[in-house]
Symmetry: C2
């Protein structure tokens, strides 16, 4: 399939509940330096980890439509809770427009199955992600002999999003999350929330030197590259891509924490008000014509 | 050799000009969880990157004696400028006391030679390190066919030590450092200052997906493990080790930036006044008897 030249150079849309998805965005910027990116952090409704499946499906539909209305040629759900709840829903929603939607659960599960030697894999994730059993299904589908031990970490994403004060209380909380994984003698741990790679050093120390930590960024970046190639949608420019940021909460807070996490200036941050899903299907069609 | 039980459980001494050496300390904590550590940041005399060889040899002798007087059973120079200037000097100084001194240049150079496919390796380092030609010698000794392209980065360690504001000016400065490496078409880049792994995401984006970044932490940790084993000096405890911090500058500034970089609370930070080297050789002997 050969796409219209204008479509090739549209941005890739990436979204998360906050700044955690920037760990995925970083890997995308490394792997695809000539692509433009449009990142949306739904900071006004952070965290997603305690939301219901229905809420997350509604949020993802609104965000997906916003990003597509702004020209996104592909969507990345850079949030595990949202992927677990809404990936197939979003894929169906945008299939007719030829817009692929890529999530973080399957690439991460496959990487964990490849990494483990003992067949004992651990998962640290939000209550919503653990409750969805999405990783159980993805792991079982990748290798039925791998046993998954899941731990819900209700406080970890908020600790990170709020700039993680590394005090004794935080350390004790995180140690408590790691304990069941040590008891289960896992040799591989899936960081099942895109915020968690930001505290990889702390987690690696607590889990010990013989545990491999799996983060989704690099595997997701390869999937995006393949998906763009398959549709003839890779950027044909040789210059460095552009990146813009949207958020639903305070843009200055987002800029400050995002600049630190991304290690680059977030020059363009715009606060956006999301519309109910379906209220502008005309834009969508126009965008794709 | 079987060491006295008390010696086995003494701390490992680790030092740097500032907080950069914490990237090495982190890998040591992961690899050797039962060891105690005593870290000294010579923050009052930061940065080391513009110091002469003679100055660095004097600083390292003072710090080495301080750490040994406080019981260190092995020393790690977690600073490339100091390693390049003073490693052999410090090794000679403590040889008779049976105290090994391990630096960062050789482990990193060997890792780079193993990683490169094209034989074109780059080095980002301080002016002192580049001027010493220590990496040229270490690389040539590891593989005479590998070509090294070195770039002195006078501003990068200070930018990181001061909490790196990721603004456009910083980005332009760092881009300028990376440009000669892109022109030389290197496929492997040595992060030749222990501060630089703290901005690995930024450097990976600027250097591109096909460049492998080499940091010394993991290779240094393996050398320390081997050296302790060889002397029968590994800790024989099963409990988690203890870590304490010393600095020559403001301890509160050190605690704040160190807590963020280490991702753990620095509960014990002591400001220390270093004595001229040689002024307490009696303590040294007493410590080893």
């Amino acid at each position: 399939m050969v796409a219209h030249a204008g479509v090739r150079n549209r941005p890739i849309g990436v979204f998360d509940s906050g700044v955690g998805g920037m760990t995925v965005l970083h890997e995308l910027l490394v792997a695809l330096p000539h692509e433009d990116f449009l990142y949306l952090g739904d900071t006004a409704r952070f965290p997603y980890g305690d939301r219901t499946r229905e809420e997350l499906q509604a949020f993802c539909a609104e965000i997906g439509e916003e990003l597509v209305a702004r020209g996104a040629k592909l969507l990345v759900i850079a949030c595990n809770s949202a992927t677990a709840a809404a990936l197939s829903d979003l894929q169906e929603r945008f299939a007719s427009a030829g817009i692929d939607v890529i999530g973080v659960v399957t690439p991460e599960s496959q990487a964990a199955v490849v990494a483990t030697h003992t067949g004992r894999v651990g998962l640290l994730a939000t209550p919503a992600t653990v409750g969805s059993a999405a990783y159980e299904r993805a792991i079982a589908s990748a290798d039925a002999h791998v046993r998954l031990t899941s731990v819900a970490c209700p406080d970890l994403a908020p600790i990170i999003q709020n700039g993680f004060p590394f005090d004794e209380q935080v350390m004790a909380t995180v140690r408590g999350y790691c304990r069941p994984l040590a008891e289960a003698q896992v040799d591989t741990v899936i960081l099942g929330c895109t915020h968690y790679p930001l505290v990889r050093p702390m987690l690696q120390r607590m889990l010990g030197p013989r545990v491999t930590l799996i983060a989704p960024g690099a595997a997701v970046a390869r999937r995006v590259e393949c998906a763009l190639e398959a549709r003839g949608l890779s950027s044909d420019r040789a210059t460095e891509g552009d990146y813009r940021f949207l958020c639903t909460g305070d843009p200055e807070v987002f800029r400050a924490i995002g600049t630190r996490f991304m290690q680059m200036p977030l020059t363009s941050v715009e606060q956006v008000e999301l519309l109910p899903a379906g209220s502008r299907s005309a834009d969508l069609v126009a965008g794709e014509s």
